[in-house]
Amino acid sequence: MPLRLQARELACERDDRRLFEDLDLDIRAGEIVRVEGPNGSGKTTLLKILSGQLADYRGELFWNGVPMRRVRGDFLASLLYLGHAPGIKAALTPLENLAWYQALADEPGDEAARLAALEGVGLAGFEDLPTGQLSAGQQRRVALARLDLTPRPLWVLDEPFTAIDRDGVAALEARLVAHARSGGCVLVTTHHELRATDELRRIRLGGGGDDARH
C-alpha cells in the first residue's frame, strides 16, 4: 500500500522549550500508532505537525515519499483530524453539522449517508435536535460520525475517547482496528489503554521523570 507518512529528524521547540527532537517516524497503511507521553511532552503538538497544521518544526515530513510541502493539498484530502474540541456547533443539529463537514471534505451532500453515519454512532433519533441539547459524549459522537461519513485513509485523532461511555469506547476501538485492517492508518493519542493487536504500535515522547514539571 502506498499510504505512508514519514518524518525525518523531526524536532519542535516552542518558546525555547524543546518538546522533542531527532524523531524519526514511519507510519504505514494498516497501522494504529498510539503517541504516548506525559502531559506537556508534545503529543498534541506532534499530532498537529503530522496533520499539517503546524509548520513550525525542523526536520522533514514525507507523504507517500514526497516532501509534504509539495503534496499538501493531496495530503489534506486524505486526512481526517479530530482535535481536543469536537468542532461541533451547539446551535446546529447533528445533521447540519455533518452536512458542513461533508461539503468541506468535498463529498456530495447526501442526507442518507449522514443519517446512516449518525445511526452508526448510536445517535438515531437525535438527528434534528440542536446539538447543544445533547450530552458531551453525544456531541463527541457527532464528531466521530465523520469517520464513517467522509472516508479518509489517514485518521489523526487527539483524545477521541474523551467523554465517551464504555460501549462507545469499545465500538470506537473496534472501528479503529477495522480501519487499519482495511488499509487505513490511525494516529492517536489517548489516556485509554488500547487493546493490544497486531496493528498497534506505540511512540513514546518525553523523557521519564519530568512528568510533573508542566
Binding site: 522549550r17 524543546r18 518538546l19 522533542f20 527532537e21 506525559p38 506537556g40 511532552s41 508534545g42 515522547l205 518525553g206 523523557g207 519530568d210 514539571r213 508542566h214
Partner: protein
C-alpha cells in the same frame, strides 16, 4: 551665530519657552531611552551571571548542566 548675546539665544526672540520645551523633551526622551537600554543590558548580564553561579554551586564541581531533553522547563 544668529544671536547677539547668550540672553537673546535663550529668549529665542520670544519663542524661547516653545523651542526649549520641544528640545528638552526630545533630549530627555532620547537620554532616557539610552539609560534604559544600558540598565536593561546590565540587568540581563547580572541575571545570567547569577544563574551561572547558582548552577555551578548546584553542580558542586561536576561539569555544568547544559540541556535536558524532553519536557524540560527552566525554573527561572
Amino acid at each position: 551665530m544668529a544671536f547677539a548675546s547668550f540672553n537673546e539665544f535663550l529668549a529665542m526672540g520670544g519663542h524661547g519657552p516653545y523651542v526649549w520645551t520641544s528640545w528638552a523633551v526630545t533630549a530627555a526622551l532620547l537620554g532616557g531611552i539610552v539609560i534604559h537600554a544600558r540598565s536593561e543590558r546590565r540587568q540581563l548580564l547580572r541575571n545570567l551571571q547569577r544563574r551561572a553561579r547558582r548552577e555551578r554551586r548546584l553542580a558542586g564541581g561536576r561539569a555544568p548542566v547544559s540541556h535536558q531533553r524532553g519536557g524540560h522547563v527552566d525554573d527561572t
